[in-house]
Symmetry: C2
Subunit: 318 residues, 2 copies
């Protein structure tokens, strides 16, 4: 009936997204507790922290301590984010625990780049080229070409499909020139402009031009369309998504769905598993982890299934 | 790229859903204020109250006063719900203001019928036949065959497609035998079991057998799939939905999305309009009405777009 994939891979970003934005303070031990709970769900990838300036992001000041406390499990990749070489150096200090992977970070909207990083598209391409050099020096694979604002932008408005394709083309050319292999093109709905229709249009056009690359979706739920957009992606055969347990990462001061950040992991897992798409994740354990996340941050988080519950109890034999 | 309809019709149920369930007392004038705000959005149908036992549903004790205070607008149908002839008699007293329409209420799950109304399917069919007689006597059209639990049931588990088709068949046969014309088959995901995949399967099978009937969806958002399911319906050409402004009707004691009831009207309108599907509704005014609803009930409601905002301000010329 469609191109629904048989299985999907989910990249959990909740601990980094959530603890970065929470007004906190949250004890290191509680952060580790959540990561350990997530580690027992079957998730294959968990972004556990970012190595950034603690003066700017106090919630990540204990990033080293968090990673030090983790007990790596076979088959589970702990990931981290960094924004510059100083952060990368910190991440490199945890080479035994973390799976380090680089990204080429591009934007389909130049106004967004200017606003957030004070860079033109040309400036950013030079910067990304330099980053590839750094990754090469450290033997770090480049995993993704990430296209921010691929579906619309608060500073540029609607984004023409051609702009997205040019941006992907820039990334593909860049890695080719630098002799780096990159498997995944990640399309990010950074400001929650996507609809199922635009997901299909953009994914279809990118796949048509680069049919051998894997396409991944990074969706935000600010306007409630996160799961509808994920479903549209599934219908296009997308089998790779970023998400956050309980919807961690929404605005910490609102504590309700309207302030949502990333699409919620357990809601996405529910969507997939109920349609027969394997995630490899134990939904009941994931719901437990989501409830733990809410307890840790101390305010309501946007997830639905963590409240509505799975359907298992209605199906279990009496 | 799909069978997306060019326009959809939305049946607003928020005032009835919400004020029925809120613990509050809420002043009659405030209920009327919300209905008037909704009346100015372009909505074509608003269910304003139910005529039920005030001892059981205190929030509807002022139903007559609410209707008395309305100023009917041309082209806008104010609707009401009733559960027995006593309620219908009260509704008939407002014949100038209300657009009275009957429903054949069936369930694809017998355990659900037994649990909620202590009736077998056979009992219920007799009851519905009697109802048709009542409607005929009063000259009230029968608008819908409503199938509750069409996608799953907390008391029966998964619902076989055959059960849904048999239930629709029962309704079609009943109205045929009684010589009544019914245009719409309404499929209700009463307990939030549907997925986009089951929406497509059930809608497709019902349409195949009864291609001249209009199919309408009544979706709940308890597990976060409300809009994904609505999108799946749109892809099947569904052009008729029930919904509640701001998601009114969720559990009043939780005040968050997890307790959601009906799919949220302004989120549904956003989904449609952003994909080029006309709703006839002014989204900005509807967002204002949703915020008014939240102010009136005094706690957060599940809607997303009412917090995230529409995209208009980002597109407007500078």
């Amino acid at each position: 009936m469609s191109d629904l994939p048989r299985a999907v891979e989910i990249f959990e970003e909740g601990p980094r997204e959530g603890f970065q934005i929470e007004p906190g303070p949250i004890a290191t031990s509680r952060k580790v507790e959540l990561i350990e709970a997530l580690s027992a769900t079957g998730l294959g990838s968990i972004q556990v922290c970012s190595f950034v300036n603690p003066a700017r992001v106090p919630g990540m000041a204990d990033a080293d301590a968090v990673v030090d406390a983790l007990r790596p499990r076979p088959g589970l990749r702990y990931r981290a984010l960094w924004l510059n070489e100083k952060g990368l150096q910190r991440a490199l200090g945890h080479g035994e625990t973390l799976s380090l992977a680089g990204m080429i970070v591009l934007s389909a909207s130049e106004p967004f780049l200017m606003r957030n990083q004070n860079r033109t598209i040309a400036d950013n391409l030079r910067e990304q080229r330099a980053q590839i050099g750094v990754y090469r020096r450290h033997g770090i694979p480049v995993e993704r070409i990430l296209v921010m604002a691929a579906f619309g932008c608060n500073f540029a408005g609607d984004i023409a499909l051609e702009s997205v394709l040019e941006t992907v083309r820039d990334g593909i050319d860049l890695v080719a020139e630098e002799g780096v292999a990159v498997e995944t093109i990640s399309l990010a709905d950074t400001m929650a402009w996507a609809t199922p229709r635009s997901i299909k249009r953009v994914v279809g056009a990118v796949r048509e031009r680069w049919p051998t690359h894997r396409i991944s979706l990074h969706l935000h739920d600010t306007r409630g369309l996160g799961l509808a957009n994920a479903y549209a992606g599934l219908e296009m055969g997308i089998d790779s998504f970023d998400s956050s347990v309980a919807g961690l990462g929404g605005c910490p001061f609102a504590g309700h769905k309207g302030a949502a950040g990333n699409v919620c992991t357990e809601d996405l897992v529910f969507l997939c598993e109920e349609m027969g798409i394997r995630t490899g994740i134990d939904l009941e354990r994931l719901i437990d982890a989501a409830q733990l996340a809410e307890e840790i941050v101390g305010h309501p988080l946007p997830g639905s299934v963590m409240r509505g519950g799975s359907l298992r109890r209605f199906r279990a034999p009496a």
